[in-house]
Amino acid sequence: MFGRKGNYAYAAARVKAKKAHLLGEEDYSKMLMMTPQEISRYISEAGYAKEMADLANRESGLNLLERATYANMANIFGSILLASTGDLRDMVSAYLTKWDNWNLKVILRGKSYGLDADGIREDLVPAGSLGAESLDKLISMESEEDILAAFSKMTHSAIPQEVVSAYKAKSNLAEIEDFLDRRYYEHLLDVIRPVDRPSFIFRDYVSKEIDVRNFETILKLKLDGVRGEQAMKYIIPGGKQIDAKAAAQLAATETVAEAVAEASQMGFYEDIKDAIDPQAASIRKVVSGMKRYEMMQSKKFSHLYPLSVIPVLDYMIHKENEVNNIRTVARGAESGLDREVIKGLLVI
């Protein structure tokens, strides 16, 4: 049923060992009581020491912590990708493409702003298939067109001419960024062939993630007064519960509260129903509730099918979440946020 195409057993064993080192709820509780300096020391001892030491000559304070945690995640994801073969590698690679897209966005934004190569390089997170060398090549290119052409070549996925033309006509990177995000999920769903139960679960998780993205997009646009057909332009196809019809209904609602009410039949409703304050022009609590829902979904399948893509995916989700949580605690402590507020922002 599984393990036929790809070294699932080996990869699963590797990530199982790594998962044991992930920070737990009690670690975050301890970190909430610490100063930013103490948090830096604590996470150095929790497996981030090498990256902290490597970057210490260039960065300091919480920028060092943020970049070191990203670098650690990038190194680990890179090693997982290297250690995977066959279908597993295809799926892991497709899943990590989001970091290639992130890096392309950072490069394009930096270039359009006029940042120098070092300024762009320090914001990259080479956690995808493109390593530091490939990203350096992209940075060294002069025009956005050259960067996009080289990126297409490196990732074997062309960016349609009409997207590039729309970007050039409006000088708005959103055209390219939104295309990359939509293509990421379309490609990911293509790569995960539901031939067995684990890949079906993986596909199901991605579909739910698409639902969360789509719902967040609809709410963001609603706050800005964008509704109906105009909002549908930004919907990613392939959602589990939010298909084209449901998306159109959600997009047609007048307010955020109406959209949340409209979503009452959906899986994430329980996590967001209390987050709506009709007086507040904010969707932060809804977004936070959906992040928790996403994490809960991954926890549901984490213990299933130990020799499949599931443990690898589960580890990658939790590693990324750990990096986000560490940053949240450290930056929250530095900003003087109340402990309860920081706790509310954590996704555990």
């Binding site: 934004r109 930096g110 990177l173 959103a174 995000d181 963001k220 646009l221 946020l337």
Partner: protein, 211 residues
Amino acid sequence: MSGKEVTPTRSVLLDLKKKIKLSQSGYKIMKMKRDGLIIEFFEVMEKARKMRAGVSSDYEAAMEKITIARVVEGEIAVKSAAYAIKSEPQVKLGSKSIMGMMVPKVEATAIHTSLVDKGYGVISTSAYIEEAAAAFEKLLDTLVRAAEIETTMKKLLDEIEKTKRRVNALEFKIIPELKESERFVKFRLEEMERENTTRLKHLKRKGEAAE
């Protein structure tokens, strides 16, 4: 103008009378202007007080939102989103008149940019970052309006001070001096009149004695 510096002639007296009339009517107008400016100042001051409170609350809201965005999304994501923004806020400067005084009229255009036109992707940019961006746009809009009101208030204060000095100068220096000169010229003319009468009487007496 001291009374002793004027030539005591009838034309000077007429001239002085005209000047006193003009100064008194100028004094009345300036006093009315000063009072009008003071009323206007109190109205603008109330607006400025509300505006300062608005700036303060908008600043706090914007800082809270950017802090949360930095905490949740990280410095890199926030910075990167900021690099993507293309639109620059535009400010149109004009002027309007308050009781003959020109004050600036600042109009902010293109401060709020729609999410779809910001420059970064709609799908992937976090709601935390978007809310922080919107909060800073609101703060900028309030600051521009506050700048107009604060400048108007400052100009009004300067104008009130200037008008007050003019009113005082007219009331305590120019009008009293003109009146003093008028009194002096009148007195000298009367004296000259008396001298003439005496001289004529003396000449008449001398003529009668010679006859």
